[in-house]
Amino acid sequence: MTRLLRALFVLLIVKPISLIVLGINIRNRERLPLKGPAILVANHNSHLDTFVLVSLFPLSRLHHIRPVAAADYFCRGPVMTWISKNIFGVIPIARKKETRLEGSEAEDPMQPVYDALQRGSIVIFYPEGTRGEPERLAKFKSGIAYLSKKFPEVPIVPCFLHGLGKALPKGEAILVPFFCDIFVGEPIRWNGEKERFMNSLESSFNELTSQLKLPAWD
């Protein structure tokens, strides 16, 4: 039932907004994983980021597509929590210590992500940790390295998104249509060391960013 509701939400709201109101220009679409387990890593400027990434997959794969989201934002109150988990299909994780559940001190906050990967999901992960300043790339946090170390075989596909911070930046309520550019990079895998892994991820994003020849937004 909730699977049907999520499919309707994506079909009637997410896809029309992503494909008609916004519109997507994607480069190297063939690098997107068709099957899980896989991790999509993207820069994060807007709630629309998840809309657009989910729209790239056919509806039949929808139950495998799981965005990782901050529990302190997406799980405010029982109604919001239910909607986030079942309609948006997010995996909520605790960003801060205080918001982690009582008695689960010992448990890894990323455990729900591990479970999803083991079930063969395609996980959407924003290593900047937050939406931040529109159209600016913040420093990546190292959570993605721990995740990759634990699942060294799972491909990590970098996706650079541009334009959505203009369409709906943090703190704005009105959506202004802009085309969204997506640059998909070569999949990368765990290479044995945290620092090296973070460097290769960042250089992959720098390479994708340099493909964009549009003026900065300011």
């Binding site: 220009n25 704005e172 009105i174 202004v176 249509p177 549009l214 900065a216 300011d218």
Partner: protein
């Protein structure tokens, strides 16, 4: 429905079938080993464009107007995504988009006076005022100018296509003239583009404006003019009240204006440092790459018909 319109659409599909056969069968035989992916994509996209156009002109006027309004929305969105916009102007851009439904509402009600002044007077003045309210003066003039130019090209000019459907001519016609007029100008403009491209490929030597568009040649341009005039002689009597010498004049006007529209949009793209305005239509680029010539031919054709017929 005007039988001339149906006959023309049937003929377009016939020509497309022939072109598809050439691209998929003849071209690979003539130059084997080469990848003709873009040519194939381009041909496939034409099928989609022609079908959408046929649907847009064949059914009722409301549907045609919605279709053209949507085309304007896509073109304006493409334009605004290309130009450097100021972060402070986000809400102004939102108002700019809102001008599209209003403009097409005036067209739907057939209110010519409002249709012709709404964007160049009310929208332009209002957007300037709205931008002043935001209070960001750095880059103000550039931002206003670019936004107004975007609305001019993508909304005001293209919306003339829709008002062709509401045009009342003084000469008697057996059928409502709108669909035929739209089909005539769109078809002639696009065929002019294709003809200039083909003649340029075949004979092109002397460049016209190498700084703006290095592929445009005198041979392509003149070949295009001749082909378009010839086509105008065939399509004019079939789709419009144009007859005889006026077909010649209209063919010439469309060929020249289409060329100008094409190079104007090329200059815009060159200034912005991009080759294509987008990637919405496989093999063609963006919407703006396809309707660039129409931004000039549609309003000129419209006012020619309104004044003389």
């Amino acid at each position: 429905m005007n039988p001339g319109v149906l006959a023309t659409i049937a003929a377009i599909y016939g020509a497309l079938l022939l072109a598809t056969a050439i691209v998929y069968v003849l071209v690979p035989r003539l130059s084997p080993g080469k990848d003709h992916k873009e040519l194939k994509q381009r041909t496939n996209s034409w099928w989609v464009i022609v079908t959408l156009l046929a649907i847009a002109v064949c059914f009722n006027i409301g549907l045609s107007i919605i279709f053209i309004a949507f085309l304007c929305f896509l073109a304006l969105k493409e334009f605004l995504s290309l130009i450097p916009t100021r972060r402070a102007d986000r809400r102004v851009l939102f108002w700019a988009y809102l001008s599209i439904p209003l403009q097409f509402y005036w067209i739907y009600t057939g209110w010519y006076g409002m249709f012709i002044v709404f964007i160049p007077v009310y929208v332009f003045l209002f957007l300037t005022f709205r931008m002043v309210l935001i209070g960001e003066t750095a880059g103000f003039f550039t931002a206003v100018g670019m936004l107004q130019w975007g609305l001019m090209l993508n909304v005001f000019c293209i919306s003339h296509l829709a008002f062709l459907l509401q045009l009342h001519l003084t000469v008697p016609t057996a059928y409502p003239p709108g669909p035929g007029l739209v089909l005539y100008i769109v078809l002639l403009t696009e065929l002019n583009d294709v003809a200039q491209f083909c003649w340029g490929k075949l004979l092109g030597k002397r460049k016209i404006i190498p700084k703006v568009s290095p592929n445009k040649t005198w041979e392509g341009f003149l070949g295009g003019v001749a082909t378009t005039i010839l086509l105008s002689y065939v399509l004019g009597p079939l789709l419009t009240p144009l007859r005889g010498r006026v077909c010649f004049e209209m063919g010439l006007i469309v060929a020249v204006c289409g060329f100008i529209g094409d190079v104007v949009v090329s200059a815009v793209k060159r200034d912005l440092g991009v080759k294509d305005s987008g990637s919405l239509i496989p093999g063609h680029g963006g919407i703006l790459d396809r309707i660039d010539s129409l931004t000039f031919t549609a309003p000129i054709f419209f006012h020619f018909m309104r004044y003389f017929y």
